[in-house]
């Protein structure tokens, strides 16, 4: 298919960050073609270019070529070096868009990651701050990345932004631990944060009340805190949102989040997120749908050993298939899905053999 056999070739703008990250981890060059080639605005968007710049600053020796029209990118990865960086995110995407891929790379870096991201801190489609802090970092912890933190220095709601978060990843590990999780999550407690910037704190309490009302019948400890930001540190725009996290005793969790727009009623958002959390719990196997890519990638780059993760039938969606296909194109390894045989839930066990990736900057004993 490809004219240049030295690249792994992809087409389309989908999974852009994932492909770049997988390329970086595997050390293979990728070529992504036909990026929005049929679009009215063809080529890379500003946030994707910004992401490539970020990749350039946390790696050493990366080469990025972008064609004139921006519809083709060739990326030759260097090694991950990390360090202290400040990244100004464009207004079109919140910081979560940039922090999320960094989580895949940070533990395998030469130096510790300490990146300050400036920009919006919330949106409808990307990971919020609390979701990263309470939903994604716990997943990393399961793979042996214990010392990582995301500090919120300033919040900035869309559209004006003005927020600032600081990602610190202090544990540098040679490779992720092989992980087995064969149990469905059993929720022990539900936590949450409702935040607001530059609006009345009553919005926060109204969201909390609505969410608590929905979650009351589950008969579980519900603890939602209010986080009201005022003055200098609350960014340039008014905004509010809620994140709910349902956690097990062992620290696995699933979550749901949303933010309010102008004209939304806080009660509606609180109710909606609470119901979405219930839905997500019902769909989730060992991890939620949002955490699945992170978990699978960490399992793939693990030791040459079989890791196991329980997933439900509902979790096999288009994203999941795209993820596995992209992983196969780059790492060449497939995962094996085995039905669970000791109960009748119809769940599957994803058995993943690690590719034996090692952090290039670490000596293996």
């Amino acid at each position: 298919m490809s004219s240049r056999p030295s690249y792994v070739v992809f087409q389309g703008s989908q999974n852009f960050r994932l492909r770049i990250m997988l390329a970086t981890l595997s050390g293979k060059a990728v070529k992504i073609e036909k990026i929005r080639s049929n679009d009215l605005n063809p080529g890379l968007k500003d946030y994707e270019v910004s992401f490539l710049r970020l990749m350039e600053s946390v790696t050493n020796g990366s080469a990025i070529e972008i064609s004139y029209t921006g519809t083709t990118v060739i990326y030759r990865p260097g090694i991950i070096v990390g360090g202290s960086v400040t990244h100004n995110c464009p207004m079109s995407k919140p910081v979560g868009y940039f922090v999320e891929p960094m989580l895949y790379l940070a533990p395998f870096s030469k130096r510790k990651f300490s990146i300050v991201f400036r920009g919006c801190t919330a949106s409808h489609y990307d990971a919020g701050i609390e979701v990263i802090k309470w939903g994604l970092l716990p997943v990393l912890e399961r793979f042996g990345v214990r010392e990582c933190a995301l500090h919120t220095l300033k919040r900035g709601s869309p559209p004006q932004g003005g927020g600032e978060v600081h990602l610190i990843v202090d544990s540098l590990i040679p490779q992720p631990i092989t992980m087995h999780n064969l149990d469905r999550i059993t929720i022990a407690s539900i936590r949450g944060v409702a935040y607001s910037t530059r609006v009345s704190p009553s919005m926060v309490n109204r969201m909390i009340d609505a969410a608590r009302k929905v979650l009351k019948p589950v008969n579980c400890e519900v603890n939602i805190s209010a986080d009201v930001w005022r003055g200098e540190n609350s960014g340039k725009s008014p905004g509010w949102g809620i994140t709910l996290v349902a956690a097990t005793k062992k620290g696995w969790c699933v979550f749901a989040e949303d933010i309010g727009d102008a004209g939304d009623v806080p009660e509606d958002i609180g109710t909606k997120v609470a119901y979405q959390l219930l839905e997500e719990i019902s769909i989730s196997g060992a991890v939620g749908r949002n955490q699945l890519p992170l978990a699978i990638v960490y399992m793939i780059i693990g030791k040459e050993d079989i890791g196991r993760l329980r997933i439900t039938r509902d979790q096999i969606d288009e994203k999941f298939i795209h993820l596995l296909r992209d992983i196969k194109s780059i790492f060449g390894s497939e995962i094996y899905l085995k039905p669970v045989d000791d109960d009748d839930t119809g769940d599957l066990i994803a058995m993943v053999k690690g590719v034996g990736f090692t952090n290039t900057s670490k000596k293996i004993a």
Partner: protein, 109 residues
């Protein structure tokens, strides 16, 4: 798709995922037996061996218009409309075994 007449009844999702010529949405449909539009449901070919030769090459799958549901660039997952969710979770019985501290209907663990 009308082209794939010789469909098996039961698909192995593990194999379907890696059949690159089938777009993911189609994979899911086949796996869940959703597109029962045409009349190949006799049940005679359940145990037939799979073979990629059945399917027409569908190489346009990646260049198609933006498919947000399948795009990992979008972090938040798909949820049904709030009205549907409210209806679905008006009773929490099916979720009972996912919480600690709620008495289970029977000892299933």
């Amino acid at each position: 798709l009308k082209g794939s007449q010789n469909r098996r009844r039961k698909w192995d999702i593990g194999k379907l995922i890696y059949m690159d010529n089938i777009p993911p949405r189609e994979c899911l449909k086949r796996w869940r037996n959703e597109d029962v539009g045409d009349e190949e449901e006799e049940g005679s070919d359940i145990e037939q061996d799979e073979g990629e030769g059945f399917f027409k090459k569908n190489d346009g799958s990646f260049s198609k218009a933006h498919d947000y549901e399948g795009d990992l660039e979008r972090f938040s997952p798909y949820f049904d409309k709030i009205e549907k969710l409210m209806e679905k979770w008006s009773s929490l019985d099916s979720l009972k075994d996912r919480f600690i501290g709620v008495p289970k209907p029977e000892d299933s663990k």
